[in-house]
Amino acid sequence: MSTLKEQYAEELNARLAEWQAGSLEPPFRFADMRTLHAVTLALPVIALILGWFL
């Protein structure tokens, strides 16, 4: 089992090294959220207001 644990630790370190060396995706800023806001906030709110009058 200790060998397995060592293998796991080695694999984990190798993988974390790739994550730390590679550039992480930039933070998800407010400006990136336009589509999200349009699809999940603006459209639903307008639809729910209009739906009330059906």
């Binding site: 089992m1 397995l4 644990k5 293998q7 796991y8 694999e11 984990l12 993988r15 974390l16 790739e18 994550w19 730390q20 590679g22 992480l24 995706e25 933070p27 998800f28 990136d32 589509t35 999200l36 699809v39 999940t40 906030l41 459209l43 639903p44 709110v45 639809a47 729910l48 209009l50 739906g51 009330w52 059906l54």
Partner: protein, 467 residues
């Protein structure tokens, strides 16, 4: 056995760059494959208790998309930036040991959804077999159980070979079920007529129009929140949060809501159907008319249950101790056997209480989404400690107090209490203010506020601190 997964796709390790190879198209089809299943019928059937066809159609689509806002922000930015699935992503908010709570949560809910689908498939197959005269009515319950177990066996046989199957069959399953679903909607509308459909009255409307409207919104918010365990598991294969917006919101949100219309229309036209179109189609058009619906049920449910079993198995393997003892096949077997036990011993009571199961998703996952959004965006400014996410020892970044983030649990507890004060998920009895606020939105907001306040006031040992 005795083999820790050295692949990120099947175990607790972070994914490598070349393993994160899902295009937006692959993500959309996998999402749609996961979303479209016969729970849509049941959910639509519940909405048919409260709203007529026109209002119900608008509310189902709009509220589902609105709910996706919370789920998306809570899961996707973290999943794509750090390659985290659901369980690992809760280490910052619950602590290294506290994230075991999410293993249980994810496992139970994905198993619950999977069980619902397998029972539904069994019921449909048994009904068809009885109608065709293959099985007598007296043997229908046995046929139902056996059919459910056969469907489960197919699911297990496919997903136990590895999660690569999801990407390979995603397009086929998603296109098939979407086409069959639209076909079923057309058949229902053509047979019943728009006029009759628009005139049909909801069967359990309270008479308070605002309360009924909000209750339907709440049901759809709960449906959207129930995606929480699934989303991270899929979007961690994507490399871009921005490019995941449309695949996730449309694949999980819009696709599900459109197919839920089948349940809504069926529930309105056949009030005792619970949203299941099969008996109604058998009644008005015979076997040939019901066959597309039956094909939809089987293909959709097997496709979705595969994603559910994958998520449940993956959640188990996020704990290295479990990962060391269970192979991928072993963990999918544990998930499959759990579903099998419920199918054999608890099918009817479980199925009869689906509404409670659905709203419990909102009780738990609403505050959890609030917690993660507050932690990731407000407290940590989207910066996580990679070593802390994967280090299980005391003293790691997310160890806090004995491995628990006390603040996270307290804040989530407050959110759950707020939910219960506004809506009883078992009886659906609600406080007067519920009609104006829903229960999900205040409970999520309460969690955010309490977590941020405690992070400013508490000693460092109990959770994250900001000044």
């Amino acid at each position: 056995m005795d083999e820790i997964s050295t692949s990120g796709t099947e175990g607790s390790l972070p994914l490598l760059s070349h393993e994160r190879n899902w295009s937006p198209k692959a993500l959309f089809f996998s999402s749609a494959q996961a979303a479209v299943a016969t729970w849509c019928f049941i959910i639509g059937g519940y909405v048919a208790f409260y709203l007529p066809a026109a209002q119900g159609s608008v509310v189902m689509i709009a509220a589902m998309l609105a709910g996706m806002f919370l789920v998306f922000l809570a899961t996707v930015p973290m999943a794509t930036r750090y390659g985290l699935e659901a369980v690992r992503s809760t280490r910052p908010v619950f602590g290294t040991r506290g994230s075991l709570f999410t293993v249980a949560l994810t496992f139970l809910f994905t198993i619950g959804w999977g069980t619902t689908l397998m029972i539904f498939s069994g019921k449909s197959a048994a009904l068809l077999l009885v109608t065709l005269g293959v099985v007598s009515e007296a043997n229908e319950p046995v046929a139902q159980t056996v059919s459910s177990l056969i469907c489960l066996l197919v699911v297990w046989a496919l997903i136990s070979r590895g999660p690569g199957i999801l990407r390979r069959v995603g397009v086929i399953v998603a296109c098939s079920v979407l086409a069959l679903g639209v076909m079923v909607i057309i058949v229902i509308v053509a047979k019943v007529g728009w006029g009759a459909l628009l005139e049909a009255k909801p069967s359990a409307a309270s008479g308070n129009k605002l309360l009924d409207y909000t209750t339907a919104i709440e049901l759809m918010l709960a449906t959207a929140l129930s995606w929480w365990p699934y989303v991270g598991g899929m979007t961690r294969f994507s490399k871009s949060t921005k490019k995941s917006v449309l695949p996730v919101t449309l694949g999980l949100g819009l696709a599900l809501a459109v197919i839920c219309l089948i349940g809504l229309y069926t529930g309105l036209v056949f009030p005792d159907s619970g949203g299941d179109p099969l008996p109604g189609l058998l009644e008005i058009g015979g076997v040939w008319l019901a066959l597309p619906a039956f094909a939809f049920i089987i293909v959709a449910n097997v496709g979705t249950a595969m994603v559910g079993t994958y998520t449940a198995a993956l959640s188990l393997k996020q704990q290295p101790a479990i990962d060391a003892r269970l192979s991928w096949r072993g963990s999918t077997t544990v998930a499959g056997l759990t579903v099998a036990v419920v199918i054999v011993f608890l099918a009817e009571p479980f199925y009869a209480n689906f509404g409670t199961f659905l709203t419990l998703s909102a009780v738990v996952f609403g505050p959890l989404c609030g917690l993660q959004i507050a932690d990731y965006f407000i407290i940590r400014k989207q910066r996580l400690d990679l070593d802390g996410l994967y280090n299980d020892g005391a003293g790691s970044a997310y160890w806090y107090w004995k491995g628990l983030n006390v603040t996270g649990f307290v804040s989530m507890g407050v959110g759950i209490v707020v939910y219960f004060l506004l809506l009883d998920p078992v009886t659906f009895a609600s406080a007067p203010v519920f009609a104006f606020t829903t229960a999900t939105l205040p409970s999520t907001l309460a969690t955010v506020v309490v977590y941020v306040l405690l992070a400013r006031l508490q000693p460092k040992a109990f959770g994250p601190v900001v000044h």
